[in-house]
Symmetry: C2
Amino acid sequence: MSTRRGTNLPRMGDFNQAVVVEAIRRAGEALSRTELAAATGLSAQTLTNITRRLLDDGLIAEAGRAINGPGKPRVLLRLVAESRYSVGVHLDPAVVTVVLLDLAGTAVARRLIPVGAPEPARVIDAMAQAIEAVIGEAGVDRSRIVGIGLAAPGPLDEANGTVVDPPMLRGWRRVPLRTLLSEATGFAVVLEKDTAAAAVGELWTRRGPVDDSFVLLYLGTGLGAALARDGDVTRGRIGNFGEIGHIVVDPEGPACACGSRGCVAVTCTPQAIVAEAVRAGVLPPDGDEDEAGALEDRFAAVCARAERGEPFASGILARAARCTAALLVILTDVLDVERIVLGGPFWGYVSAVYLAELPEHVHRASATRALREIPIHGSVVGADVGAVGAACVVLNEALTPRASSLLLSERVVAPVAP
Amino acid sequence: MSTRRGTNLPRMGDFNQAVVVEAIRRAGEALSRTELAAATGLSAQTLTNITRRLLDDGLIAEAGRAINGPGKPRVLLRLVAESRYSVGVHLDPAVVTVVLLDLAGTAVARRLIPVGAPEPARVIDAMAQAIEAVIGEAGVDRSRIVGIGLAAPGPLDEANGTVVDPPMLRGWRRVPLRTLLSEATGFAVVLEKDTAAAAVGELWTRRGPVDDSFVLLYLGTGLGAALARDGDVTRGRIGNFGEIGHIVVDPEGPACACGSRGCVAVTCTPQAIVAEAVRAGVLPPDGDEDEAGALEDRFAAVCARAERGEPFASGILARAARCTAALLVILTDVLDVERIVLGGPFWGYVSAVYLAELPEHVHRASATRALREIPIHGSVVGADVGAVGAACVVLNEALTPRASSLLLSERVVAPVAP
């Protein structure tokens, strides 16, 4: 389009409706219309209209009356958690995680599928079965399911809904994942990078101000970054924000296949840490780090040795932490965020060491050290952050107010299969 | 705030009014209300109300009638360029540039002040005099001036309106620039990083889609990056988005004061290129690269020798281009933008070499090379991009529709001095 377009009343109505649902959800308890007016800044008349619509749609319900002073008792409104659900699927090289999330953000059912022989057709079949299983287990009517969020390692081809060349998933080049999963399940599917999904999950789950900003460093089989600002996760022009594998974090580090040396990919990924442990004699050289399940076991072994105080293992993790700190300095210098969040499937193994090492190293080298210290903490979402985040992406699309939704905008979604 | 707030009618009115002004400004010619309705998506009634208000305020005027088919002739509306102005000031270590911009974005007057003895008080005095001079020269009534935009090298302390520790401006630590310039001139002042100002200038000046995204690499005394997305420039949490000086772009490069090696600061800044030329014997070692004016002369000398085909000088620029390419790969991998723009005071010297070298190097190493090629081009704004951009920041604050302006938001502005 050649010029920006205006906004109009229906769009404002949708936005304000989402504001009200979010206010009730985030409060975590029933609120009166008066409390909602104070929280949202909307007028009493607007709130009356919006809450009537939400009551009709079953998204909220009356939850008794509060007597507070001499006036008329106030009707309390609560979220109906079981009114809407979404499915989150995380495609990881080692394991596919499937969760069913209710409107309050609680995972009501969960399945894990080991990715033994990762032919795409088999994996998608197994995903579809697991999705049916969690829906059946929870006894949820299919009509209440908003859609499926599918988190996968980047880079992704957002326009075609394909995974381009995921690490450790051979034979997965250009698989039209979004369409295949939609056909296999009959649900609309949104494909999202695992890192961005994790950031949406973090935004959706935390109780805090909605207008802060953070960079999320995702520790999976690969490392990736995501950015949240003003309650929105940045997706980038083609949905691939946060590719960080070839940022140099140690000029003296090992050579990388990209032609440089000391990149993130060869210094602070789980694979790099395990390879370093083999070089240092901490691990025997007989593992198959190209096999995702074996990688996690061997990575866990290095971390366990470091925890027991074995000096070589401790030194390896400390060095990886310093490289991660160098990466976080670059990301925060470029992105200028309020805080740093770390999460993802491998985060739990290193969180104690990293939370001890990172803050000082990051602060000392930050371009804005004279102005502030940037807090660093772990994700509020657990090990399922990819799957939970993917389910949140779908709820988020449907229910979260975003400034950008006031303007004309579109997202590519695989339509529901016939 | 603990929850996001709704939006309301007055805010929507302001937003739509800005949409209409932008549509007329960007068209570059008079438009009928019918054409405006098509361009903005607003209803005829809404447009009638908005254009009446804009006519009353003098921002637009009637410009004749167009006869087009059998119907009633249509009234054409044009922007009144001389209805509002803003002042742009660029504080560069070598020279202060002052421009007076009209509402159409044309610089109607311009002054350069060499920064010989850069004591803050003197420089601010000289700025204030130059501002009075451009206003007097253009014969503009002070009441038509919206404010002053002041671009300065980062990092900035946005909250206090101070420059923290600018390169080559000794004695400028924590100078409360915003307040001092407001007191000296009587105008409201917005302080902005030079890189962000340049990106606003680029957005404001170009004729193209408003919803694209680009990273702007600013080649000044230091290098900085800015990001534009959906018509907005990202400022970051404390206004310091885009600090890139210590990203490693050549692991074999020279040692840096930060403790690493091959950083941007020691490989592809003008200072680094001149230092390399001295080491290679291309320049005599008697220059004072810490003095900003001398730096530009010596940098220009290296570029002139490269242009004449002198192999050492050409090699130095080619190496700097490769380091710049490595930087652009990191920035585009992280930020996922549609295109790359280069600009700033030193850009003109290297544009031919860089535009020949960068595209191939950037594409070959990009994480999304399988999905797209990212175009690279020079800024549409000339050498005054910092000052013009700063003036645009002020017009932009006043007149450009941004999705974020539909929500509650604030920007720190030094109030008009009494």
